[in-house]
Symmetry: C2
Subunit: 250 residues, 2 copies
Amino acid sequence: MLFYLRFEFSPTSMENIIYLREFYWSCMPGSHWKRIAGKEIPSSLELYPIIYDYLENGWNILDIGCGGGKVSISLASRGYSITGVDLNREGIELAKDAASRLSPAGKPEFREGDAAELPFQAGEFDLAVMQAFLTTIVEKEMRSRIIREAGRVLKPGGFLYIAEFGQNWHLKLYRKPYLQDFPCTKEEGSFLARNPESGEVEFITHHFSEKELVFLLVDNGFEIDYFKVEEFSTRTGNRVNGFVVVAKKV
Amino acid sequence: MLFYLRFEFSPTSMENIIYLREFYWSCMPGSHWKRIAGKEIPSSLELYPIIYDYLENGWNILDIGCGGGKVSISLASRGYSITGVDLNREGIELAKDAASRLSPAGKPEFREGDAAELPFQAGEFDLAVMQAFLTTIVEKEMRSRIIREAGRVLKPGGFLYIAEFGQNWHLKLYRKPYLQDFPCTKEEGSFLARNPESGEVEFITHHFSEKELVFLLVDNGFEIDYFKVEEFSTRTGNRVNGFVVVAKKV
């Protein structure tokens, strides 16, 4: 990853120096999400009902970046055959543990794995879910690779359901960090996410513009089948605009 | 206005040459909207109810780019004191004619005038309305000037209500012209609007990104008080995302 140690040394940016060390580590792709305690993985979003307009009986579903398994367990308990994959070993253990308490008929499977190199054969799945997952991928090129990899494991004509945070320029609460953290993040819409209590930098989050999310999909083997702006809740309880998208593998 | 005669001469762009003359004229700021027949001015958007959360009795309202007076007449008939202003003389005549059939109590006033140089004193109005008006202003600097001018005629703490088209990258119907017409328009989100029957270029339309619309306001003397993505109807009946904004003069 490109990482520029360029800071503007204005009086207000002295604070930047304090979080330099934390920031450096949170820049390492995926490192935060591999290290974080499984129960700390945010999962504030619910599945949007549009997904049920697509799902068909007998479909094989993949939950990419499944964390503690909330989405996988919810879909499995509705009778769908689903596999969750996440980089975070503790998240996968928690998910397996939660799934063990389900009836055998509704058991999801969970596997540790990297979204950029999925441990599955080509064309194994009918639909893949990315629920507030791309927001954690802070390298543009890595996001493209992950979308192409999702395309690889989908059957021809398979679907990718995405719920993802949008850029909320109208909210000062986000406009300020988008601008202030840009010298660090080097990407518009990215900012440093801090622990709500300690204020320490925990990781980088990316919020998408519509244009960016659309081209991430259409440039990497998908076409847009459904697209809607919805109001999401963040892990800290803020109400922000996001996108619910269903893309079709072409 | 900057106008670059730079076309990409690929087989598909030969068509560009055909509309070169029309395009040139539609590039002249405001010329189309000054020349067009009053009854042809699009007015497919309704006022969003949020405006009534702001309006107070006795307020003086300005409808900027009022066209044939639809919005002004609707607000006047609810008892609000309103003045409509438009560059298009025929539109103003039509609006006056329609207003003459209202009861004297609910009569709006109409005046021919330029949004960049409003024929009003500073601080005359409590609230200004721009209903799908900025979309017709194809120069970025002119849009800033118009927002500052709206600020001038508003009282301190006055409000600016805007309903404006967003960039709909998810719709191929718009993604294609945004990209295809960029060598002509030189601005992202702008495209050549054609007559639905003849296919001839009529004018340039601009669709906004959230970031762009927010900074147009916050960089020109306003703060965002209300901001919502809504589904709009275009003059040709398409359903597209747009923004409903109430900004406060600071």
